[in-house]
Structure formats: C-alpha cells, structure tokens
Subunit: 118 residues, 2 copies
Amino acid sequence: MAGMLAHDAQFRALADPLRLRILAFLHKPEAACCTDAERVCACDLESLVGLSQPAVSHHMKILVQAGLVVAEKSGRWVFYRLNRPAFAGLAQALASLGGGDPAPALAPDSASRSRKAA
Amino acid sequence: MAGMLAHDAQFRALADPLRLRILAFLHKPEAACCTDAERVCACDLESLVGLSQPAVSHHMKILVQAGLVVAEKSGRWVFYRLNRPAFAGLAQALASLGGGDPAPALAPDSASRSRKAA
DNA sequence: CCATTACATCGATATATTTGGATTTGTCAA
DNA sequence: TTGACAAATCCAAATATATCGATGTAATGG
C-alpha cells in the first residue's frame, strides 16, 4: 500500500511503551475491579501502567483519536476495547512492505496473494 | 509473542511522516541519480524529503537501529533497502491484535513463521 | 600528497511529547 | 439538593525529538 502516510497517526499512537502495554492489556484483559473479559475500565489502567489519572486519560485519548481503541461510556465509567479492524488494516499495510501475508489466522479472504515461502 | 513491547523501537521508528515517506520510497524506488531498483542512495533521500543531510542521516540511523532498514556501504556511498522480514514480523504482531482472538495467534500454517519461534 | 565527495557526528536551538497537580464536568447515591 | 466518585481538561514543568550549521571521518580521484 502506498498509504503508509495515511496511518501516520496510528503509528505515532503506537510509539510509546505505556500505550503498548495498555493495548496488550486490552487485547487480553485480566480480572480487575471494573474490568471484565470484554471491556476495560480506565481506573484499572491507572494501576496497570502506574501513572496518574490525567496521564492515562491523555494516552487513551491518543489511542482513541488514532482509531485504535473504542471508548464506551457507561455511567461514571468509560470502558475501552480494541478496535480490531484498525489493527488488521495496519497489519495489512505493513505486510505489503514485508512482502507476505500479515497473518494466516486473520485473513478469511486471502488467496489473492501468491504465498511466498521465506 | 505476547510482546508488542518487543517492537517498541520499531513503532517509534515508524512514528514520523518523513520516515514513512522514506520507507515508501524504499519499498518502490524511483529512478534517481544513485538509485536503482534494489538499492537507494542516501543522497537521493535528501531531495526526496527536502531535509538537510544531517537530518536524513539521523532518520536513517533510527530506521537502521530499529531493524527496519538495512544499510550497505559501497565505497563512498551508503545504499539502503527495506528489511522486509522485519515488516512481516510487525504485521504479524499487529494482526494478532486484529484477529479478534485473544488466544495465541500462531499460524496454523507454518510457511510464514519460519523465523518466529517463540 | 591534497582536494573532493558522501556520510556521520557534534553542538545548539526549536518543537513536540509526557507528566502530575489543580480544576472542571458529568454521573450516581443518599 | 448535597456528597462522592470517575474521567476530562487546563496549566506548567520536565523530557524527548527534530532540525540545521559546523565539523569530523572515510573513500575516491587527481
């Protein structure tokens, strides 16, 4: 894809170890005070990364604005979850530079690309 | 690999529009004074991004240290090319987040994971 | 040898990002 | 309503990154 530049905001959102940790947690949430298997409460992210509440809010805003995470407000809480199609799109853009399929686990409609053995 | 964190340096290297432009150029180089279809000379990158020579050198160092680009010195020149397996690995890591399945997203098809033993 | 070319490194400045404290907004429970 | 809580926003300071000019290093050509 020529449009690596179209993913600029997403790459910048990924360029922080705390945000990567948050994304890994959203991918596979562990039990916490307000977190279930599908949604993660912002308050649990504070203890996860060990930052103040405004800092967590700042990082989540970056992730949401980049389209990598979806925020869902529920009462006083905000629950976050991964926007998985965005990651699939990013993976595809990177795979085009890598010369192969991003991941066989995801593509239900692959087979349009010649499978190249490494 | 649970570790997006292992790709931290690579994501940071991608978090710049000039570097994305350079990568797109390395992916599909156009004719220039020292550039052929496989290798790109640093001097051609200067005119591509419109920055000074030290700035280009700085960006290329970041890309090389992240493992995304390979530098090959030839006489007075340095030729750069994409390290495509690194992009394939990044794409796979992102696709595991995009696949909707929190379980270890290892490929059932072994062809594309030759280098990526956990 | 010296001059030139191509790139790297250094030093300083400008800009961007990160962070926490204080404050504000919005929501729920008495 | 008031009180408490969760999160967002504002503000200022600390840190990181980007950039350029000047200089250094290495290789080529005379």
